[in-house]
Symmetry: C2
Subunit: 223 residues, 2 copies
DNA sequence: TGTCGGCATGTTGTCAACAATGTGTTGACC
DNA sequence: GGTCAACACATTGTTGACAACATGCCGACA
């Protein structure tokens, strides 16, 4: 019955601006609206996003710490990060390490329900491959790895892994787009899950690392 | 001969304020001036550090992303992070992983000069143990690990390792302070270096992980 | 006496103006 | 014709004031 506190303005959420701006900028970078190398002009971006320079600066600094944006130093402006080949290779190395760790952890901790969930996702990806829907496979692949992180229940390494993945998305390569690559990749998924099911932590770890290194190999193959 | 551009004010470096504030706050947190749980009042801190709220906010957000400060959400302020036991344990896990990787890399890449440098540091720490200078050992230990990161030449994982170490320093425990612990720790150092010298990547990796896990064990032993 | 609603205060979030610096251009001098 | 220096502009860095929100207190009511 109370007439809804005040609702003076039609702000639909009344949250802080900076996090919203950060999310929007991040999306614009990852979907290519702001391509690597693009100069990020504070006033222009603030106008474009309908805010002022304050929150926008905070957002840019946040993205800088995420590795999506680089600053050339004081008074020299920021730009969308352009990933060097060396950096991308190192990113694969770090992800491989964390994937191996996650798999080893899963081999020790996972429940039967968790295993069933992973199996279901692998089957899902098989279906996507047969259907030739590379886009669906791409998303399901991200979901599969996300599920592993959740099930492993190790917040610290999961956070590191997620930040590395986000960074790697700077170059939106779809190296998995070929059917052959997708088949290879999902076969590795299945092998990882099987090792986890067998509670073989060492093998699971080795396969987890090998899977990401397989991605690196597929990336190098596509140059 | 040029009369030094202008030098209108005695600012000795003319750099941006936010990074300086970040460094100072970080130091204050790590040396205990701002203990875990301490509330961080923007205006009060700004006055204390002789700046305004703008740069100080940026610094706080930077420290938040480093994991040294936590925010309770909009309008609820920030505080120095208090590390839960679970979080500290996970930190050890992640560091162990990266230490193992670094050692494996060193086994493949290190030069004779690099090996000599590591040997010298291990000997240095032996001396510190005999001299009973725990403080010196503490610093030399950090330097030793820093040297390994430099020699391994893997920027991405080195960055991750450094950030994890910084985070772990939130609880300034000196678990190595006992002579027995220091001896154990340095024996592990020597074993790691020996495996690297033997170019045995697998063993080096295993020992690297074991070393940090040894630290975890020593931490658990000290409760 | 316990609980709930309204209010006052203090703190963070946002904004717009001011200051300082880096960059590109233009002109003179060699 | 090329190079260097001074200048003007554009952009970032900083500041103080204003607005919005969360917390705690106080009083009224059940």
């Amino acid at each position: 019955m109370l007439p809804a506190p005040v609702e003076h303005a039609p702000d639909r959420l009344a949250r802080a601006l900076a996090p919203q701006i950060t999310a929007r900028l991040e999306a614009m970078i990852l979907d290519g609206t702001l391509p690597p190398g693009e100069r990020l002009h504070e006033q222009a971006l603030a106008d474009r996003l309908g805010t002022s320079r304050g929150p926008l600066r905070e957002a840019l600094r946040a993205l800088e710490r995420e590795g999506l944006v680089v600053s050339g130093g004081a008074h020299r402006g920021m730009a969308v990060r352009r990933l060097e080949a060396q950096e991308e290779a190192e990113l694969y190395d770090a992800r491989a390490l964390l994937q191996g760790f996650t798999c080893a952890l899963l081999a020790e901790r996972i429940t039967d329900a968790g295993l069933a969930a992973l199996d279901a996702r692998v089957a899902e990806m098989d279906a996507a491959i047969e259907a030739g829907t590379a886009d669906a496979y791409y998303r399901q692949n991200l979901d599969f790895h996300e599920a592993m992180l959740d099930l492993a229940g190790h917040a610290r390494t999961a956070g590191l892994y997620r930040s590395l993945v986000k960074e790697s998305l700077l170059t939106r390569r779809r190296t998995l787009a070929s059917t052959a690559n997708m088949r290879d990749s999902n076969a590795e998924h299945r092998a990882m899950v099987d090792a986890i099911r067998a509670r073989d932590a060492d093998t699971a770890r080795r396969l987890g690392e090998a899977h990401v290194k397989g991605g690196k190999r597929r990336w190098l193959g596509g140059l």
